[in-house]
Structures are given as C-alpha cells and as structure tokens.
Symmetry: C2
Subunit: 209 residues, 2 copies
DNA sequence: CCTCATGCTGAATGGGCGTTCAGGATGGAC
DNA sequence: GTCCATCCTGAACGCCCATTCAGCATGAGG
C-alpha cells in the first residue's frame, strides 16, 4: 500500500533536506558564495554538517542547488504575479515594480551579483545564467510584442529595445543591491518605466501609476 | 647627496613592488578575488610569497591595492582619451566606445563584477566603488550638460538621463563580461549610443559614427 | 674592509574547514 | 519482537593555504 517502494526512515528526510536548502539560501544571502561554510548551513538548519554532506554531495553542490532554488522561485513568482496583470501596459508596469523590489527580487539582486561572478569562471553557471537571462528577456519581448499588437507600443526595434530595457534593469539593480544612497526601489522603478515609455513611444502618462 | 636619507638596498625594491602589484592584477583577472593565492601572485611576479607579504601586509591588502591600481588606471586612461574628443557629441561617442571595450575597459568589466560583490559586504569597498561611480556619472553628466549648452542635446531631465545611461552601460557590460553570445563590443556600443540618442533627442544620425 | 638597515627567500607553522567515517537511532516490513 | 535500509551525528582526518621567521644577500655609509 506504500506509495513508494522505498521506505522513509527517520522523521522526514525530505523535509529536512528542504530545510537545509533554505538555510543554504539564507546563509548565501548573508555571507555570499565565498563566505559560506558547511557549518554555517548546518547551524542555520539546526542540524549537523554531516547531514548537509549526506544530502548534498559537497558544499559546492549544495550551493549550486541553493542558487537553482532561488532562481526557480524567482521566476515562478514573477510569472504568476505577471499573469494577474491585464494588458501589455499592466504587464510592463508589473515588470518594473517587481524588478525594483516589490516582490521576491528585493534581496535577490545581491545573489545575482554572486551568480554573475560565478558565471565568469564556471561553465555550468554561465550556461544557466544565460538561459535564465534569455527567459527573462523572452518575457519582456513577448510583453512588448503584445503591446505592439495592441497598438500601445511603437518601438523602433523590438530586439534592441528588449536588450536595452533588460540591461537597464540589471544596471539599476546593481546600485540597489549595493545600497547606493542615490537609488531606491521607487526611483529604480520610476527610472525604468520612464525609459520604457521613451523606448516604446507610449502615450504620455501611460506608464505612470 | 642622496635624494633620500633612506638607502635602497637590493636591486630595486620599488620596481619589485610594482611588478608584484601588476602580477596581482593579472592573477585577479584570471582567477578572481576568491581564487587568488599568495603563491599565484608570487609566481606571476617571479618572486617568493614571502616578499609579497613583506611589501603588502596581507593578501587581502595586496588585492585591495591591486584593485585600486586598476581603478586609477581605468579612469586615468578614460579621462585622457576623452580629453582628445571635440564637442559633447564626440565625447559621448568616445564614452560609448571606451565603455564597450575599445580601451582598457575590455578585460576590466570582469573586475568590476568582483568589485561589486566585494562591495556587497565590505564597507570600504562599498564606499570606494560609490565614489568611483559618482566620478564616472559626473563625467557623463558634464558631457550632457555641455551638449545642452551647445544646443545639441535636449534631455528631459539631466540627472535621470545620466543615471539611466550609466546604469545601461553597467547592465550591457555584464553580458559582455560574461561573453553572452548575443552581445559584442560593437553591439554594446551601438545599443548604448542609440539609447543616448533617444534620451538626448539628438538630430537623427548625430551619434552614428 | 666592517657594519648594518633593508630586501629577499623558502621552509616551517598553525589554523580553518571540507570531507570521511564509525557508530547510533528510527521505523517500516515481516 | 527482529531485521535492515535509511537517517543522522559529531569527532577525527588531512589538505590547503596565509602568515611567520631564521637566516642569507646586498650595497651604502664610514
């Protein structure tokens, strides 16, 4: 009658595993990739370092999986939030606000900086981040294309505009992640939407909220 | 008759010191902040690890000084190159091209990623990078203001435009540093100048070269 | 020539930390 | 109850460096 042939011993291994992964993300945010120790993760998860290595083969692997988790959650939430937006204008506004920190992104931009540095030298990380970037740019491009179809956007060149707006968001995010006094969530969102309005030649005021 | 009261023993200590600093920069580019060892620097400089620690107090300190060196050279070259440009339009074009890798910037964007991650957790690094960013934005803002005075630029808001164009460059640079197949030096420069043309409402074609 | 401050070396030291492992506990199967 | 796969623990092991240091080299000053 067991759903799985394999029995689950101990309390709840899968639950424990997830707790460790969550702890890894937490520590990663606090100390960064280079500063995270196995013992830190174990402490944060309220378990032993032995178990961390038991569930994940190595620290390296644990951190990689932690980052994957973050990325997945990031996009999942992003996409679900976006689904509730109506029309291309609404979707674009959401993108500006979510990217600027209204959602899960807020503490995550720091992690993106870590991912970028990692991607500098790790082939796998590079490929992953490239794929994720393409996914994000794809969402942006689709939104723009939808707006063109609706007749509210009139970009010179959809691809170029997409790359510029995506890159602008990354660049603004750096200042946000580094807590530059000149940058706030609100300003970032406003700056990005203003750029979008220029790029897309929307009617004046269309993208203010 | 000695210029300095202190005698210089050995061959040329100051020269050696500079060689080590250069080696540190080289290794830093190759292996990144987290991956650089004292022995790597010593090897690259053709000396002993003892000497590295003799001239710089610690590895940490050596790397910090190496980064400072890079930053100084970066801006020095940037400013001198810029001085030769005529008019606001010429200066802006230079900024687009230098930033995109025509000059010393090309291998340095990777180092900027490292600096950003470092700034995430090191107060000193954060302050340094903020100051440097302000300096770069200041140059950009001055150029824009000059263009306004010349009557060739007509931005909505000089400050906002400055921040957007500076951030856009950072964002584009990430893809360049990570060798994203969709991004090249030429495309980056073209994308940035096109954005500048939009932001500054230049006459059509003014910023093409 | 001496002397001695400064440069310089490479082996030794010591600490930090990833990984391993021997040994328990747990709980389903029978 | 007995057995065994699976979980889990924390101490022990070793490796990898940063840093220290004892000692040699050099060359200016006298």
């Amino acid at each position: 009658m067991a759903v799985r042939p394999r029995t689950l011993a101990a309390k709840a291994p899968e639950e424990r595993r997830r707790r460790i992964l969550g702890a890894a993300v937490e520590v990663l945010r606090e100390r960064g990739y280079a500063g995270t120790r196995v013992a830190d993760i174990a402490d944060a998860a309220g378990t032993s370092s032995g178990l961390v290595l038991y569930h994940f083969k190595s620290l390296e692997n644990a951190l990689a999986q932690a980052l994957t988790t973050v990325e997945d959650e990031f996009y999942a939430e992003f996409e679900s939030d976006l689904a509730s937006a109506e029309g291309a204008l609404g979707r674009l506004r959401h993108m500006g606000e979510l990217g600027a920190g209204a959602g899960p992104a807020v503490g995550d931009w720091a992690l993106w900086l870590e991912i970028w540095v990692r991607a500098l030298r790790d082939e796998g990380a590079r490929a992953t981040r490239e794929a994720l970037d393409r996914r994000w740019r794809g969402m942006l491009r689709d939104t723009i294309a939808a707006g063109v179809a609706e007749g509210v956007f009139h970009p010179d060149d959809v691809d170029d505009t997409t790359v510029r707006l995506a890159s602008l968001m990354d660049g603004l995010a750096i200042q946000l992640a580094l807590a530059d006094p000149d940058m706030t969530s609100e300003r970032m969102s406003a700056l990005w939407l203003a750029a979008a309005a220029q790029e897309l030649r929307t009617e004046p005021g269309m993208l203010n909220h």
